[in-house]
Amino acid sequence: MNIKDQYLDTTSISSLRSGVRPTKSQTSFNIQSRAQPSLSINLDNTIVQTIIPPVNNSLSGDIEDNSLLHSHPRLRSMQSISSIASRRTTRPNTSSDQLSVNTSFNPIIEQSFTYCNNNNNNIDDPSTIRTQDAAFGEEIRKDLIDRLAQSIYSYPTSLAGNTNEFKPVVSNEIPDVFINDNQIGSTFQSHAKNFFILTSAGKPIFSMFGEDKEIIPYMGIINTVVSYFQINESTNIKTIKLNKTKQTFAFTSKAPIILMAYSRRGETTNELMTQLDLLYSYLISSINERQLKRLFHNRSNFDLRNFLEVTDFDNLRQICSLLSNKLYPDFGLNALQCFVMRKNERARIHDTIHNLLINENKNIPRGTLLYGLILSYKRKMFKLCAVIRPKGHSLHTIDLQLLFSLITHQFENRDGDQELWLPICFPKFNSNGFLYSYIKYLSRSNSNNLGSSSSDIEDTVLVLISAQKDAFYKLKTFGDKLWNKLQSDKLNEYFIKDRFKFRISDIQAPLVHHFMYKIKKYVQYVMPEIEIHNDDTNKLNRYENKLKKFYGHLYNSVVDDNGLPINKTILNYLHWEEEEEEEVEEAEGNEIENDFQREKINMMGLIWITPQFELYLICNNGVNNKEIVLRSAKRIISWCKKYESRLFIQEGATF
């Protein structure tokens, strides 16, 4: 028994329809040795659901498609659960031995491979199944099938063999636990979230919502609050929290700029402050810090709004919207997504770039090119296809995100195939000067040939960055040659179409709804494609916001007051459920919902942080078995490990 491997036990957040109660989440971090995992399962949903697959299998005579079990990897992988479940019900005290093997978690991934294999062996042993099956009567079985149907939302096909009359409507959605934070009205004050940027004189620069007339008084107040602490306390105010109304205000003062974020969404001060840092970084990327100081030197009444371009305001709005309304892990995880391609394909692209750089030595002398990227752009998200960088140098993800936001704007307003030459300050690289970016659109493809839905359009773009402001033609020539070479070698086919996009159902990780997996050393992450609501922007936004909030809760459950993880290695589960009485109230209050039975909220998530990786995972509604979730988590990790060289850029073309 390895005592030093410990894990944090579930912290349970009991949430109401009207709002989450995060206070409960801090209640207990029970540290336990993994030798005796606590299986605090009640005989309700989880066990019930998980027992279904073997039941189905043994009833093969009644079921039309008895190959279902084997053809459906997810059902198969759920079998292991049943053995736990039956053991729990019959001999709860003796189960720990075997379980400890299964649940032992260790950053070394190979272990979980072994574990998976064991499982598969079990599955192929029909006798086990029959014994388990015997434990349940026919009636219970039917009930269980119904319950399964209701609980496993992500694979409606798993219902194919269900011959029951009752076929519940299933959705692959997850419920919203955080109803409180939707906008109440259309007035300026009713927004659940807002950002303000102003000068140290209290003059407005930007706000996400609100007309001038509405926001200008607030700018004065914000300025006064910040100044009060600077003058009277010689300190900078960080936050104001109103616990009763769950409002948080976060401040950042970087003379001559003051920023404030307001949120009613239960975000922590640290989250808001990092968001403010991105907004400030954007301002700096456009004007740079030295220039900013010069503008305000002896002119504290300077009106920065008229110095910024329309594009700047568009981009600030775009960033605010990403931060508030979209699942935007690039920022939350401080990592980038990579365009999936085979290892040797990417290597060929990188070799081509590298060789061209050497051959073109005369035209593009060393030092001209600082950094290069081939990016894929789809649904407002950028993915790295290839990276050209000097050995030992790389750009900060925030800097790249700022570049992305600029390119996004250009994409939206572009007119044919354009080339751009943009001065941009990368604040995390050097906040006092500009670098120059050559941006060239390489190609556009539509993965859906029938429709012209913009969500299916994939663009590819080349970015070459130099510190020399007269390097445009050198970089242009290099860019053209590179593109010609990639085309003539047919290497462009590797990245113009996303051939390897994966869904959550491609990984044998039962009951998992969505996940994000980050490898720290690459500063890159992967997550499955979002499969629902892709044709409805509003629904998609709502859905992404939901995911975002679940992930936010997960992350906040393991960080300290400074926003840093409380330990180098952490495994934590979070559980969201709703209280019965509230449900009734809600149903009465909403006439439309009276016709339907709303799904009961019973959500579980897992966060796993180690020095090598971070895994964030959200389960389907109704799942509350930690053992299964942990196994699924391990399978995701092994899957990511297996395909690491496809999912992540490991080296890039270095020079």
Partner: protein, 208 residues
């Protein structure tokens, strides 16, 4: 440029407690007057769109500060970056008139303005609706003061009966805009902040 935002003019109103700063502002912004006196705590912020010389539109951000001594520690914050400073005294209160000079000095000390000599001030003698018997500050004394402070504009106003308030604020807006543009013009664009980078030198690298 059509997308250009309106200029924001920061106007700060200073003067002793009870001279009618808040009343003046409310008369100007909302065209309302309340007989009741309520001391301002810290500062009030009001906004009004102004049309200057019938062709320029700006947004005036009025900072109505508290006259009471105990709020003065925040002065720096309030004064910083003002485009115009309005000094108000009460024509029925000699003390408030005598203090105008110190209010002005206080402002210049903290405001960090680019050139104190040319910074626009406007002097307002408020409460001229009062009985002549109560008036203790003569018009002559006020004109002399305005002249000695660098020929600054002077208006005799009444927030209560709306005498001269709009006229005074028109002048305030004009001075503020003038100041704002002078400062903006003094700036020369300079995008020559290219970074000198040697690739073989590792000092610029970012460890991420």
């Amino acid at each position: 440029m059509s997308t250009r935002k309106k200029n924001i003019l920061k106007v700060i109103i200073l003067g002793d407690s009870g001279v009618g700063k808040t009343s003046l502002m409310h008369r100007y912004v909302n065209d309302k007057y309340s007989q009741q006196y309520k001391a301002t705590i810290g500062a009030d912020f009001l906004t009004k769109e102004v049309n200057i010389d019938s062709d320029k539109i700006a947004t005036m951000q009025v900072w109505d500060t508290a006259g009471q001594e105990r709020f003065q520690s925040l002065g720096v914050a309030f004064y910083r970056g003002a485009d115009c400073c309005v000094l108000v005294y009460d024509v029925t209160n000699t003390k408030s008139f005598q203090n105008i000079k110190s209010w002005r000095d206080e402002f210049l000390v903290h405001a960090n303005v680019s050139s104190p000599e040319t910074f626009p001030f406007v002097l307002l003698g408020n409460k001229i609706d009062a009985d002549d018997s109560k008036k203790v500050v003569s018009n002559k004394a006020a004109q002399d003061l305005a002249a000695s402070l660098g020929n600054i504009p002077l208006f005799f106003t009444s927030a209560k009966t709306a005498i001269n308030v709009d006229t005074a604020f028109q002048e305030i807006a004009r001075s503020a805009l003038q100041q704002n543009q002078n400062d903006a013009d003094a700036f020369e664009d300079d995008f020559n902040d290219a970074i000198n980078i040697q690739l073989d030198n590792d000092t610029n690298s970012c460890s991420c």
